[in-house]
Amino acid sequence: MIPQLVVDGLLTGAVIALGAIGITLTLAILRFANFGYAEFLTVGGYAALSAVLAYGGTGAPLGPFSFGGFIAVALAVGLLATAVVALVSDTVVFRPLRRRGAGPLVLIFASFGLALVLRHIVLLVYGTQPEYYSREIQIAVLLPGGVRVMPDQILVLGVTVVALMMLWWLLRRTRVGLAMRAVAENTALAQACAIDPEAAIRWTWIVSGALGALAGTLFGLTVQLRPEMGANLLLPLFTAAVLGGVGSIPGAVIGGLLVGVAENLSVLVLPTSYKATVPFLIMLACFLLRPKGLFGK
């Protein structure tokens, strides 16, 4: 029972971790809590769904998985569409506010408004029914210890690891990543070194939007797509980012995994219907005991 809950938690946690990285990047570089961020998961998941619907499915299932090779194309469409939506949001909503010198709380206000608009546009277009990329049946794999895992879930874990390695490469080995880290550290100093903060901000939107879209697609693959899925994940994502420590990417990953595992283990002591309250309790505990998070500066 417990090993199964832990493994399920790690799989949920992997998706939360990807989104939490996007949030922690936004908190560190854009310096405000973007409550609209979770909608990028919804937008990305549904953009990929549009590609799947246009193609008429994902193609013949690959090996043990429930989907065919077209899912890779759909994922690319989702990443691209969400990066565009993120950039447009910045240009239309946040850049005018930044220019006016609006404080971070005004930006939070605007991000809630943006979230409301994005979520309901998805609802308007796709309706309230849950959607799936594929309805093929897959056979669970039995791991040692009596733990059952779906092949799709193993793939989710693999994709998450690959995405993390690519992100590490981007931030540590490219000029764009260097600029993003410099702006996170000290905007004025970065500017003095001929780094354009606006460019770093645009890249932050693109990278965090793409991470959100990836998380949303993986969530749709293993759970289901619903217009309110992003809104429901908002609290777990922020809890993971705060728990890990703002600006720390390893922190966001560990925070995400911890939140996922804690959520799943909570059914041992709490009724299942309170599972969704667990991230909030973790957040409060974190505020009380260690507000800077596990790996915060």
Partner: protein
């Protein structure tokens, strides 16, 4: 004719209840710059506290205390204050955006509790038979009498808050909002002032929730959806944060826009697409909020500046 009057009375009553909550938010956001992302949660606490204390006993959930309505309203406010105090104490020393996270979380948690804590909230079925004032009047006169009550409460809350923000304490609160470090350097206890403003601001929200429960006579988790927080924000931002008269005006204007867009959706959108109709209204509120923040952050009637007549013009306009 009587139908139109009844509708207008209903409209004005609901708008007045919203205005009370908006006034509370104005103290938190407008006068002390604290972000409350869970207004609806505080209203729900007030509504459920009032419901639990006045509704008759039912075997599904507790009840049968039959408190007098005024005492139940006071208790509803007290319950809201307690929750606000707990959230405020935890977050007052942290980054300002952590209060936004904590209030957002508490509203979500209260939503879960309302749905699942069946012994108190009746779960999804809600609580019925809540005490209504003037319940023995015929419907039309009940509406008028309740509007008078709501308007009186609104006036009382307005006068109290106006008195508060014009007091030396209110002046110091605005100083904290404008420049925390300068206010601290002048000996103001910044944390304490913020916490006080947050807690006092939460009380009208609880009162508004209790009034809503008393008006409808029934509460369920579906009466307090997250969209309500957005509506109340829109009321404050449209009316003009930092101005209590603006907050009241905004509540009436935004509620009128919301109601009219609702009527329009019912007329235009086919009945099987009504869920999507709600989505259109939500998009309108979101666009209104963002557009006001970008194009007219002062709202319809923004904050009046109180500066010394001894200051020269160039100095007094130097705000933000």
């Amino acid at each position: 004719m009587i139908g139109t009057i009844s509708y207008l009375v209903f409209f004005a009553t609901v708008a007045s209840i919203f205005a009370i909550a908006t006034l509370g938010l104005n103290l938190q956001w407008g006068f002390s710059g604290q972000f409350n992302a869970g207004v609806v949660g505080f209203m729900a606490i007030g509504a459920y506290a009032y419901a639990a204390l006045t509704a008759p006993a039912q075997h599904e959930h507790v009840g049968g205390f039959h408190w007098p309505m005024v005492a139940a309203m006071a208790a509803a406010m007290a319950a809201t204050i307690l929750v606000a105090l707990a959230i405020g104490v935890i977050t007052v020393r942290l980054r300002t955006d952590y209060l936004a996270l904590a209030t957002f979380g508490i509203a979500a948690a209260i939503g879960h509790l309302a749905l699942n804590l069946e012994g108190i909230t009746g779960g999804g079925r809600g609580v019925a038979g809540i005490a209504k004032p003037f319940a023995d009047l015929p419907p039309f006169w009940f509406g008028l009498a309740f509007l008078a009550l709501a308007a009186c409460v609104l006036l009382a809350v307005y006068l109290l808050l106006e008195r508060l923000v014009r007091s030396p304490w209110g002046r110091a609160l605005r100083a904290v909002r404008e420049d925390e470090i300068a206010a601290a350097a002048l000996g103001k206890d910044v944390d304490r002032m913020r916490l006080t403003a947050f807690v006092i601001g939460a009380a009208p929200m609880g009162l508004a929730g209790a009034l809503y429960a008393a008006f409808i006579g029934y509460v369920s988790p579906y009466d307090f959806l997250a969209i309500m927080t957005f509506q109340i924000w829109a009321m404050l931002i449209v009316g003009g944060s930092g101005n209590n008269a603006g907050a009241v005006l905004g509540a009436f204007v935004v509620w009128a826009l919301w109601s009219m867009s609702g009527i329009l959706v019912v007329l235009v959108v086919p009945s099987k697409l009504q869920v999507q109709g709600g989505a259109i209204q939500a998009i309108l509120i979101g666009v209104l909020l963002v557009a006001m923040l970008i194009f007219r952050p002062r709202g319809l009637m923004g904050e009046r500046l109180h500066s010394s007549p001894l200051l020269r013009d160039d100095a007094s306009t130097g705000r933000r």
